[in-house]
Point group: C2
Chain length 330, copies 2
Amino acid sequence: MRCCHICKLPGRVMGIRVLRLSLVVILVLLLVAGALTALLPSVKEDKMLMLRREIKSQGKSTMDSFTLIMQTYNRTDLLLKLLNHYQAVPNLHKVIVVWNNIGEKAPDELWNSLGPHPIPVIFKQQTANRMRNRLQVFPELETIAVLMVDDDTLISTPDLVFAFSVWQQFPDQIVGFVPRKHVSTSSGIYSYGSFEMQAPGSGNGDQYSMVLIGASFFNSKYLELFQRQPAAVHALIDDTQNCDDIAMNFIIAKHIGKTSGIFVKPVNMDNLEKETNSGYSGMWHRAEHALQRSYCINKLVNIYDSMPLKYSNIMISQFGFPYANYKRKI
Amino acid sequence: MRCCHICKLPGRVMGIRVLRLSLVVILVLLLVAGALTALLPSVKEDKMLMLRREIKSQGKSTMDSFTLIMQTYNRTDLLLKLLNHYQAVPNLHKVIVVWNNIGEKAPDELWNSLGPHPIPVIFKQQTANRMRNRLQVFPELETIAVLMVDDDTLISTPDLVFAFSVWQQFPDQIVGFVPRKHVSTSSGIYSYGSFEMQAPGSGNGDQYSMVLIGASFFNSKYLELFQRQPAAVHALIDDTQNCDDIAMNFIIAKHIGKTSGIFVKPVNMDNLEKETNSGYSGMWHRAEHALQRSYCINKLVNIYDSMPLKYSNIMISQFGFPYANYKRKI
């Protein structure tokens, strides 16, 4: 039998067949590689490794320093006194002052006239007086760690240095000085409170389920996480001019699947609100403040359709500071 | 042109070609899958996941209970008093008494005559009075967690319950009540000590680098790890009848690459040695005891050709126990 013209050209035909085969093999390899990559288990990586990657992606350089974010309203005398203290804290990279005094110029000129200063301080003029202004993703923020402090709170340097070292060991949690908790009631309605409230659980002692952000270190990525939350959360905070810290604890607990914060017992932390000449005494003095915070917890449970807060009874102190604070009283 | 017979039977030829092609594809897929599996990065898994796997491999059932291992020599009156206390501690699975009184029968009969008891207590008669007898891999040990306590140490139940809950959160570290440290000197020779010694580092407060095992929780896998150490380590402990705890801290710090232990401040822990009628007052009263421990540190550095101990200043207490222990003294 006589083969066709093509059959009689074995070399070229073989070449074409090999070429076709190779193309098929390559295509298959690519498909398999793609499928396997998609199927690979999500690796729960070392926290430090994850953070280093975030460093590269965010352009943040280091875990070794932090940025103070301080929101202020109508207490410029306290603000300036506190800035004199905080600007000298070790490992501080920069201060961002969130200036909620709408219509009033921030004291840049005064600040500069009293320079030089150890680190840069940026006054961010806001367009509306909102509690959640301090949770923006500030472009000036260059560190992974944020130190957030209320504008009437004086935290001693040893407390800050120690708490920052604790945050470096637990960078996915809020490490701070003010613990609070939620309590359940038989009706399923939650209440917000502190030590005066019923301790949850059946064991000894008390528990906390939130660490307030107004005296704490936390990871700056949580600012982005906050911005990505449902509009209802932002609206709740705007309506109450409250609860941004409760919301942050919800968000973080939900995100990491464990307790949102670690409480570090402060050795020397003061509230200076009585020392202001502004006549303004802070949001927590409003009659409805505490009730609002219980209200917020129930609203947030509703928005997230879950109660993500988890209890903890871990209290951290600095070994040997104050001197011999670990000695037994035998 | 006329094609050959084979060309004219497109169905069968196509079939053979498709078959060949399929075989090649399958072969390639298998090779790629094999190669990718070999190349997959080693997943640093969740600690709990790793422990659950160990559970299966070791036959250990749970992280929810612990085994008390108490070594005893010549203080049976204290031992029995302590057993009355410890046998009732929540989450205790079993007690293993390491009976170092060679030639003297363990008090099994007395113990049984005073039953029933809440949990099993096993008296393990030893053949030689060795300090490191308590670090054997006891076949009776069924839990992941070990509570190791010296036979003159009374730790209150609230302290134990809390420290166990802390261990469950840090299962790869020794969680205990007695912190110690090593100090470097300019000669490179190390010394062993406690709070009376120079605090390492330049910051505030003190640091510890060891948590003594004689009042602590730790992972039972470390018993196996201890047994696998160089003979020189075992010989050092046998020669000094000391330093098993220092060795354990070296071994664990080296193994996990971070500080070997976490200090939990005890609320109520007593040493009962003054209450014994045996006339025997414990190893640490020997004149050479403290010097031996410094000696051991330098020997171990020599054996391991490194100083793996790492400092920590984290002190953990139970939030709200004693009542309101977190309130600020403003």
